[in-house]
């Protein structure tokens, strides 16, 4: 039977839409992180990797935005019609990277968190979304590998290890808050859209990060529940609107250049 959003009740449909917006918009800002840091790459092959990851992150964003048209939105509005208060990216990506270690730590956390969220749709009854999730997974593999390669290098330097640990202690709670803050997303499991609860996804994320960052960060520094964030907006999965300066940096100015 062909999948249709019309078969979903109001609350599930809203939770589904909110979840996809949160993922797509986070990838939108993440793509900007890559784009802005291309010239901070350490070598020519690094520039190539960062450029490709920029393209992939924008590609994931636009594919998810395109899917959100099914919810009755106009694509032009999704891409260029929303102001800073309408962008639903994770708070973790609000502040620019302080150094290379912070860049690697933050992009790694963002890739892991968004992949955890997307992976829940690998067996979605809507084959279009399941296929998209699989494609995102294939490309995310290399994004994570890139971060892992740099972590291996940083692990050989005490100064880089300290910088990475400092970045993780600042950024990780915000990533956890984003993933754990998906209110109503367990309705997605009940409706069969996802095959896993959000609680399990959050636990899997925490376990993955603890293991991957063990070379720099003690488990105790990462443990604990997600922080309470004042001004948290459930539907946007973030506290407070996107900072204006960041919005000015990420928004598409020329509609023609965006295609």
């Amino acid at each position: 039977m062909r999948f249709s959003l019309d078969g979903l009740d109001g609350a599930t449909r809203t939770a589904f839409e909110n979840d996809l917006f949160a993922i797509a918009d986070s990838k939108f800002v993440l793509g900007n992180w890559y784009a802005r840091c291309i010239l901070n790459g350490r070598s020519l092959p690094d520039f190539a990797a960062l450029t490709a990851m920029t393209g992939a992150a924008y590609g994931h964003t636009r594919s998810l935005w395109q899917y959100l048209v099914n919810f009755g939105h106009n694509y032009g509005w999704i891409e260029r019609g929303r102001d800073a208060t309408g962008i639903r990216s994770m708070n973790m990506l609000d502040g620019p990277p302080a150094d290379w270690a912070d860049f690697i730590a933050t992009t790694w956390l963002a890739e892991q968190a968004t992949w955890m969220a997307v992976s829940g749709y690998l067996y979605c009854p809507d084959r279009a979304l399941a296929g998209l999730a699989e494609k995102i997974g294939e490309e995310t593999y290399f994004h994570l590998k890139y971060a892992e390669g740099w972590m291996e290098i940083m692990s050989e330097s005490a100064a880089d290890t300290r910088a990475f640990a400092k970045a993780m202690e600042k950024r990780y709670p915000l990533a956890l808050a984003w993933l754990a803050g998906a209110k109503g997303s367990d309705a997605l499991k009940k409706a069969g859209l996802r095959n896993i609860t959000n609680t399990k996804l959050t636990k899997a994320f925490a376990a993955e990060i603890e293991q991957g960052a063990a070379w720099a960060v003690k488990k105790s520094a990462l443990s604990g529940s997600p922080p309470k964030m004042p001004g948290w907006i459930d539907a946007h999965r973030r506290a407070a609107p996107l900072p204006d300066a960041l919005f000015e940096a990420i928004r598409f100015r020329d509609p023609e250049a965006a295609h």
Partner: protein, 85 residues
């Protein structure tokens, strides 16, 4: 103006360059063919760089081999190795 000194180990990833050979095939019938070489500080970044730099085709198989792992049997300008008595 003072020029920045590159800290090769911290910024590029290794004290000395490490090279990898890239092999690929487009279909399972094709032989695995050498498509290029890359420099990378470790296996993970070699995998990523090979994937992004050699993306001219949708490969069925793409792999990297550390150049140091290749054992030369013959080389250009040299005779076939023989066992000395």
């Amino acid at each position: 103006m003072k020029r920045k000194k590159i800290q090769r180990k911290r910024e590029i990833g290794g004290a000395t360059p490490k090279f990898y050979e890239v092999f690929a095939r487009q279909t399972s019938d094709d032989p695995l063919t050498h498509v290029g070489s890359i420099e990378a500080p470790n296996d993970a970044l070699a995998e990523v760089r090979a994937w992004y730099i050699h993306d001219e085709h949708e490969w069925r198989e793409l792999c990297v081999v550390p150049t140091a792992a290749i054992i030369a049997v013959t080389e250009r300008g040299k005779n076939v190795k023989i066992k000395e008595v």
